[in-house]
Amino acid sequence: MAFKTEEMILNMGPQHPSTHGVLRLEVELDGELIISVKPHIGYLHRCFEKHCEAMTYPQVIPYTDRMDYLASMYNNFGYVVTMERFLNIQVPERVEYIRVIMGELQRIASHLVALGTYGVDIGAFTPFLYCFRDREKILSLFEMTCGARLLYNYMWIGGLSHDLHPDFIPACKEFLRYFKPNITELNNLLSFNKIFIERTANVGILPAETAINYGVTGPNLRGSGVKYDLRRNDQYSVYDRFDFEIPVGTGANGTLGDCWDRYYVRVREMEESIKIIEQALEQLPEGDINTAIPKRIKPPAGSIYGRVENPKGELGYFIMSDGSTSPYRLKVRGPSFVNMTVFSELCKGHLVADVIAILGSIDIVLGEIDR
């Protein structure tokens, strides 16, 4: 008699401790082995792009906050950079520097959440709280600057909502001094932990070719060894004035492009962001921040695509104008959404526990996937 086994469909989410939001995964299992994974998205859809068509251009900025809510500053950044190119606005130097400082602080904050929650996914709870403790300090810096801790609406087309608080520069320097040893602590506690490496090395291997074919960007692509970072590859703002490296995966503990590589790229990016912030604080020019804010925003009919390197990858804004005060069409290329597409490919042949490890290593934010 032939022994017959049946596959089991396991429905992970939308209510599940580690789907990083309201993601639903339909997992087909043979025992604990994965046959296929089907992600279902859309539980957080808020019609952001459609809403924008009824808004004036500056009114779109708060909406960008709410996409990737862990990287609101950078979402603002992407939108205003695109709009300024559309309108041909030259913003003051001081504004550019402040934007870079805020953007890089936001990158550290976003990566801290990614690394901390990744630890929780693997079962280590303590690094998560350490990461959030440090992130709180960054949020306090943001609060000092613009009064908000999560959704800032800080960068405006042609300027900023507020200039830096007089105490900001010493506070920021103090934070960097405090934060640097914590990266070492995180490495000792989690990154180089034997069990952590066992769980993440050689799991969810993403070869460079597949990554490029799927349009994966950000730390996920760099984890596969591709040196592609829009801060270098596509000049925007004043990033060309800073000396920083682009960390890429090396396959140090397993195969190139595994979960550990993606994880460790984020750790090293935090170090690079610290370098950028330090340099920017040194070079920060004096001046007025709101001289370039236009009175009336009416871009010419036509379209533009602008992109920036968000903590999660390439964040692109396609803006189409019909010459009126609100966009005719606005489309966002969300890095989380595009990175998510490769997820099912990565999971094949792994165990249930690895689904969580892989999902965490991709670092998605559902607010941006669904928009």
């Binding site: 089991m8 396991l10 429905n11 599940h16 401790p17 580690s18 604990e32 630890g119 929780v120 996914d121 693997i122 079962g123 280590a124 709870f125 303590t126 709280l129 350490y130 403790r133 506690l189 989690l190 932990n193 069990i195 952590f196 066992e198 769980r199 165990l351 249930v352 526990a353 690895d354 689904v355 969580i356």
Partner: protein, 356 residues
């Protein structure tokens, strides 16, 4: 203890009931409540937090409040669940972990059942817990619970082998399966503890020390796995399986699983302490003997026993808040490819040494 009670009361049944219920009410329940509180405080200190500090002084009443809340909660049984098994499972798990305390000597004067096969009994009765876990996981009719229960069964049964091998080693060294006898053998000073070669003398003692340490490490790791603690908390793996086999349980049934987990933690710590660290024996003699108050000695023994047990419970908590979790196949690899061969080799070598 039973004999003493029997003499005082002159009634067998009453004596049995009291002897059985006593450790539960005077020790395990308060211990479990405060171990939960302790774990929360320990984790808080490790994570730069404050921890519970609202209910009572420094939050000391927090777990009492939690249990009161859990008792008041509605007892939910899922529609599709197998009702009988679902209700039986927590009882079985709790009974299994509680019954193990019967053969654990708390002090020279108090041991629930002074039976010759004490260690064997503990190993056997703690396997009942597996049946309870499987039952709970299966009866919940939830896929996460089922996966968790299967993992748990595989894990606990696998890790019983290295545990049993180390216990065998210790039986060879001490010549007894009775934890009380084993503790008595390690009397007087801490250099008589089994981890330091036991009551042997001369070259034998020094030869034994490294192998005793290996045996201790093996049994400590495998008991961690048996009580489903990090890094082996795979059956409950919160991030993957929600909470494994007890996902569907709420209210008091959940509390029973929870309390039995903490009771188990102490039980295995107590076994480790009794096998390797002298059980209830004081490391430097007794105050009671020095000042000539003989009834004070068992009290001191109870103190030392609790201290040793709680220390190992603390180490378990410490590990829990430091380490990530292994994957299920890696867990099996650790057991079958490393721990069992080492435990076997250790058994043979220790056997040879004791023969010398």
């Amino acid at each position: 203890m039973y004999n003493l009670l029997n003499n005082i009361l002159g009634n067998e049944y009453l004596a049995t009931i009291i002897a059985v219920a006593l450790p539960l009410f005077i020790f395990i329940l308060p211990y479990a409540l405060y171990a939960v509180y302790g774990e929360r405080k320990v984790s808080a200190f490790m994570q730069d937090r404050i921890g519970p500090n609202r209910a009572g002084y420094q939050g000391l009443l927090q777990s009492v409040a939690d249990i009161l809340k859990l008792i008041q909660k509605e007892d939910i049984i899922p529609n599709e669940a197998d009702k009988k098994l679902f209700n039986l499972a927590p009882v079985l798990v709790f009974a299994g972990s509680y019954a193990a305390f019967a053969a654990i000597p708390f002090s020279g004067a108090y041991i629930g059942a002074d039976i010759d096969l004490g260690l064997f009994y503990i190993l056997a009765i703690s396997s009942v817990v597996v049946a309870g876990i499987l039952m709970g996981g299966w009866a919940s009719n939830n896929k996460y619970s089922l996966l968790g229960a299967m993992r748990s069964a595989a894990q606990i049964i696998s890790y019983e082998i290295p545990t049993a091998l180390v216990v065998l080693t210790m039986v060879m060294v001490t010549g007894s399966l009775n934890l009380k006898t084993i503790s008595e053998l390690q009397t007087a000073y801490f250099w008589n503890w089994n981890i330091l070669g036991g009551a042997f003398s001369g070259i034998e003692k020094f030869l034994l020390i490294p192998f005793m340490i290996v045996a201790f490490v093996i049994i400590y790791i495998s008991t961690l796995a048996e009580v489903n603690r990090v890094p082996f908390d795979i059956p409950e793996a919160e991030s993957e399986l929600v909470s494994g086999f007890h996902t569907e349980y709420s209210g008091m049934k959940f509390a029973m699983f929870f309390l039995s987990e903490y009771a188990n933690m102490f039980a295995v710590s107590a076994i480790v302490a009794a096998l390797f660290f002298g059980g209830y024996q004081s490391p430097f003699g007794y105050l009671g003997n020095t000042i000539g108050i003989s009834w004070f000695v068992p009290v001191e023994q109870l103190f030392w026993f609790t201290i040793k047990g709680l220390f190992f419970v603390f180490v378990q908590m410490w590990l829990r808040w430091t380490l990530p979790r292994l994957r299920v196949d890696q867990l099996m690899t650790v057991c079958w490819k490393y721990m069992i061969p080492y435990a076997f080799a250790n058994l043979i070598i220790v056997g040879l040494i004791t023969l010398i």
